[in-house]
Symmetry: C2
């Protein structure tokens, strides 16, 4: 694959040693995609696995000199195509940079390389009596670098916040190959603009993160769980809004809609009756107060016409009650190909969102499951496609778009935690507005003047002013292919 | 002051009506300064009080057309000269934009204009059973706009975070006069780069904030307090580090050093013995768990050789124990002119910071008090100057600089919560590094291409490369005057 005439690969290898640069077609094929459905992926030229910040600098400088696009990849568990290859790109894998550099127990700070898997870090800090809260569903596979790139959320955000809330400082290789050290190690600090937060969630378009300084917390007490089933999803969502408004801050508050509940029940018998319209799961990890907290949530659920309410009396019971939530993905997987959306709306508008999603499903004759992190107003309407339906994909994409439109109309956002990637690129400017989008482009130029970092992701390649008409391949009303 | 020949003022009035533009010399004199000591302040040309976003746009566009610098001011309680006038500038006061636009109790969100006083908002939300945590000492006077501009902290940050942690969205008039709406109203959201956080803490250099969307919390339970006195300040600081490492997250953790304790005792008899080396104050607001929490803190203090430990049994007792903390500023005010520093260091290094500050005081023959928000590692070494000492100011400035140098050497930051303004401008680049500072300048150019927004604040006007030698008036080792 890499002929002697390929000066780019030669230059790349010159600074890295041969093993770091991979051109094996099977390996490249296996690295083209992240976990998003229906997202375009190009053909990479090579995969490189730098082992240090200076090796990353060498990679970026060489790519810049040859104008080769660089797509940084962690574990490729992302759901928006942000880590998908673009044609002729170099894939930059962080897997050789997977060390926990420091775990400062006294100051509750960790310093890690980007390739550290979330679960590895979470377990290492738990062993020291500490807690790294961000827990995306992918936490057993996904890396801290990927979590930082997408500002990953998870189940615990409702109480503890998202990845960005734990990132104190970063080392970043910019598109110029320069190293930026930004942020701080201290609990507080206001020296200069918050470039750290600017890089978090930028999906590999502003730089390659090579080191992350993270805040940790004291370990929480074991959580107690309450599970409640409702006749309708809207009842459950009204109960969820009441829980969030009652003065409690649960450590988890999840919703499972009827379609998802049935999928789970088909996948494994969890004793979920066919006519359950919605489930609510809540946790409290406030130690001696947890039982009273979940009792209060149980009471609110009962007041909102819950059919059945189960309160766990210990951690083991709590895990059992959570089991249904853990089977959401496996259950939905059985139904067909999933196109997972990720809108967030103000919590009191969740019932409207659910109603609207059901209407979209009906209008377009598709199946849409609608589980969500409802404590944050973050729903994952999931369009399910039957592979045998020749028109299914077209209608699924229309439904996916209609859900984002609905989310924005309800005062929400097109993405609560998955990011824009290439999947939602066409939609971003509508949310940002013209002024915001223009600032995004100019900031991106500053960090990456040659345009080598993940080009074509997050933002449309050209502003509408300079690209009259719609770019080829992205007719209105469909996803970019 | 505003002759008929002043076309700028004429143009300004044309869009605002006469009452919004003030040129009365006494009023201008009263608005030249914020609350920082030893900070240069220029002579403003006029003061303008726009009443709406479109009036702010008119002001910025007119200033841009005439190349008149604009300094935005809230309540001028800042401590770094960020709101000080520059020569010939227009002062833009937000006091006519002081409405709480919306208080969404169900979703725990407030939307406010920038001129709303922190205490006004805090009380309004408390009446509805909610909580807006950021509580800078100035909270009775300072505005939300000013709190956003400086990313203000306070006593509660140790548990609840700083202003930035509560800002979900902003409306901002950029240096071009365009309106940017950034961020969101929802609890979560990752659409695009975090421009909201970029503007928070930018001290009026990236835009004029005209609307703020804030996250609120459920009201906490009344807090219980524990106060402990120690033979030495270092004992108290070691106890503080142990409290933070023990798994608790107190809702307040404050340190008062010997100099400050004596000043308080001189100001009002609080029963503080002459030989107290340091005081620690902690709170827990965890309701039924609060008594156990403060008991645990009391135990840790006893283990660290506290002389005396007092636990409050109710909210009233708790307020009494906090009284000493509330008198810090008044007590130190009696000793002379204060030059308040604001370094933050990793918490385990607080004893070194205190020792170092004492050494600086000794070496330079000055008095330095050293109270601090030690739960966050944020100290306020306060150099006290005797007005009658003709050489006092020179030595005070040397001490002030030496404290920042020490903070950086201990792995900390030059400013934990007060900001850079003009007071620490010379120091910022050392903390940011060359790459970071260059990015700051280029981002500023994007938001304010004409350079009208608070010029000369935060960043040195020219990068060192293009300004050989030190600019006149800022000899090394002294503050810019």
């Amino acid at each position: 694959m890499s002929g002697a005439g390929d000066r780019f690969l030669g230059d790349l290898r010159a600074g890295l040693g041969d093993r770091a640069v991979v051109t094996d077609p099977d390996i490249l094929e296996g690295h083209r995609h992240d976990s998003a459905s229906f997202c375009p992926a190009g053909s990479p030229r090579a995969l490189v696995r730098p082992a240090s910040t200076s090796e990353v600098q060498h990679v970026i400088r060489t790519a810049g000199a040859h104008r080769v696009p660089v797509v940084t990849q962690g574990a490729r568990t992302g759901l928006s195509g942000g880590a998908n290859a673009v044609d002729g790109c170099l894939l930059l894998s962080t897997e050789q940079m997977s060390r926990i550099l420091e775990l400062d127990v006294a100051d509750q700070v960790a310093v890690v390389q980007p390739g550290v898997v979330n679960a590895t870090l979470s377990r290492a800090v738990a062993e020291r009596g500490l807690f790294y809260p961000p827990d995306p569903s992918s936490w057993e596979q996904s890396t801290i670098g990927g979590n930082v790139a997408t500002n990953a959320g998870g189940l615990c955000c409702v109480k503890y916040g998202v990845t960005a809330d734990f990132v104190r400082g970063l080392e970043v290789v910019l598109g110029t190959g320069e190293v930026l050290r930004t942020g701080r190690r201290t609990a507080k600090g206001v020296a200069g603009y918050d470039l750290t937060r600017l890089v978090v969630g930028s999906e590999g378009t502003l730089g390659v993160v090579t080191e992350v300084t993270l805040a940790l917390r004291p370990a929480p007490e074991p959580a107690l769980t309450v599970a409640a089933s409702f006749r309708t999803g809207e009842d459950a969502l009204r109960a969820a809004a009441a829980v969030m408004a009652c003065g409690l801050r649960p450590s988890l508050l999840e919703f499972i809609d009827q379609t998802t509940a049935r999928a789970i029940q088909s996948y494994r018998d969890m004793g979920l009756p066919e006519d359950v319209g919605g489930l609510l799961l809540a946790q409290s990890d406030r130690g001696a107060l947890a039982a009273a907290d979940i009792g209060r949530v149980a009471g609110i659920c009962a007041d909102h016409d819950a059919i059945d309410v189960a309160e766990a009396s210990d951690a083991q019971d709590s895990e059992l009650l959570l089991e249904a939530r853990r089977l959401v993905n496996a259950g939905l997987e059985m139904l067909g190909v999933k196109l997972v959306d990720d809108v967030a709306v103000p919590r009191p508008r969740l019932p409207e969102l659910l109603r609207g999603v059901q209407q979209i499903a009906e209008d377009l004759d598709v199946l849409i499951a609608c589980p969500g992190h409802v404590g944050d107003g973050n729903m994952h309407p999931t369009v399910i496609i039957d592979r045998d339906d020749p028109d299914g994909e077209r209608r699924a994409v229309l439904a996916f778009d209609a859900v984002m439109d609905l989310g924005l109309r309800l005062g929400g956002t097109i993405t609560g935690e998955h990011g824009v990637g290439s999947l939602k690129r066409r939609w971003l400017e509508r949310e940002l507005g013209t002024t915001g989008a223009a600032l995004h482009r100019r900031i991106r130029e500053i960090f990456d003047p040659l345009g080598v970092l993940n080009p074509g992701k997050v933002l449309e390649p050209l502003p509408p002013e300079s690209a009259p008409g719609t770019p080829p391949g992205t007719p209105p009303g469909t996803l970019p292919r």
